[in-house]
Amino acid sequence: MFQNPEIALDDLPGMEDLDWQKLHPAFVRRMQVEHALIALAPLAGATFISVFLHFPLMQSTILWILAIGFAIVFVSWPRVSVPRRGYVVRDKDIVFRSGVIWRSVTAIPYNRIQHVETSNTPFDRKFGVATLQLFTAGGSGGDLKIDGLDAEIAEQLRIYVLDKVGVSIEIA
């Protein structure tokens, strides 16, 4: 029988008390290692300039302080940013939050998902993490990408989401 119950706007499911799922604990380490490798570049640059180009001591020191400062902030940043990230798998959609300074909460309904992808780099595999990507139509500004999931959970999520998408999927 056709039913059309009235929806009280105040009863709409909100996001105030969601149980945010954390990312894989090894993900912080994984990001720190990656950032450390990246931070080597300015350090190498500073070394090159001060040693081989015979920069005056004063300028070299400033350069070194800058490079080391950058490295410290950059390498410790994942400790701040990763705990801010979290996701919630709900019955009708998946919600992801991220950001330390600019904080965002994004929700993708399952009936708008075009396809789902999991991926991992060799680096990811070392730490046992994987990335889940959800694609919607239009593709403006990148689709939802959740890094640093436990590889097994990512795979489970992929299957779960695909199952949810299942009936409603119709490639435009």
Binding site: L12, M15, R112, A137, G138, G141
Partner: protein, 502 residues
Amino acid sequence: MKSPEPGSWRRTSPLAILFFLGKLLRDIVKNAWQSFAPIAAVLIASSGNLVDRLKLVVVVAVILVIVASVLRYWFFRFRIAEDSVLIREGVFKKKQLDIKFDRIQGINTEQNIVYRYLDLVTVSFDTAGSSGDEGNLPAVPSAFAAALREKIGRPLQRAGAADAPETIVESEPLLALTWRDMIPIGLADKRALLVLALVSPLLDRLGDEVDSVIANTLESATQGAMQFGIVGGVWMFVTIGIGVILLLAMISIAAAFLRYHNFELFLDGNTLRSHGGLLTRHEVSMDLGKIQTLRLQQGIILRGFSRFVMTARQARSSHKNDSSKNFTIPVVTEELATALRRRFLKQEGRGLIQIPTSSRFSAISKYSMRMPILINVLAPLLVTAITYSVEGDPAALLFLLWIPVSLLHIVKTWQHAGYHYTDEGLVRRSGTLGYRTVALLYRKVQRVTVLRSPLQRRKGLATLRVYMASGSVRIPFIEHATANRLRDYILYKVESSDKAWH
């Protein structure tokens, strides 16, 4: 050839050579540097009379281009299958395209002046999806194109409106533009500025001439006719300026004639269709159900005419940001815009007022101005201070002029920003000198984000960003609670909707 029923492989009319010629020439112009560099190299490397060589090169190039076009025509075949259009083309590199009917969003046609005499058109398929290859059928009879459109349109409409039985669809005229409408279209066209950019080097040279004329007159003025000299120079500047503006306006209006002459808009059942154009006739169609956002735009010039540009956008493929997925109605009045919006968004669009001066719009928070003001006041101050302390030149104070200009800009942008929403959709308003309003239906939303900067967190504000298949719509600096409520409501609408979003 007349019927689009499933059949065997066939060629198009030999006049398709014209189409391939045009395409080839466009490609050559687009890649001008690569195309001409080898020729130039050959010319420079070879000795002898340059003019003779040049003639030879031109003749050879023309022959090559013509031969290539003929070959491309010769190897171009197409076939209408049960549920798709198949195209085989390529001289050396063979290519086969398989365009499924259900992927085709619209069939657009173009008819240049030669084709018009022979009643031929070039069909292009507007497809949704990731493939970058879009098929063309050059030089097919227009009756064939119409039949093809009918054939492909049929299943779409059946799926779109299940409750509407097979009715004979009558074409209902919505709008016909006259020559008078070309003036606002032409004047409002931003491409006129592009022409200005191209012409400006020329103007620079002209400016030099004017300078020397003024210098001369000044010189002679010192010998007696001072008054006349300066006045004459100023007049000359003003005349040249007005002349350039008039010329641009005329070019722009002429371009409007080329594209929109005899523009007509109709509604065939659920399909929006327009045709128009002076030399090349463009025929564009779009299924109403595929409209993702409806945009009403009014620049400062159109404000003077109290007219708008209306654009219906449909889902775009993720790889390119092309405007071919837009359906543009180049000039509409306020009443017509409202009437069209009612037709396009139907019942669901009720109450989504797009006229920017409507009192329905709520303002966004004044805090949206804080960051831009800080940046636009501090930066000029800093630049002025540095320049002044280094150069010691009072002219550095001129940088401070930036402050009032940018403040005006920021305040205007805030005043023009706004939003309003109903149970089914929302409208966002933006702009600085003009206005732009975008209307969307919640059920077509793809995903929603609520974003908060540190300032917004302190003031209980947020930015709501709604992603559509045609791009995203941002409503900045609204109450955090409102943003959350809207988000939750949009999600509810999307998740409980069983209608197709595309």
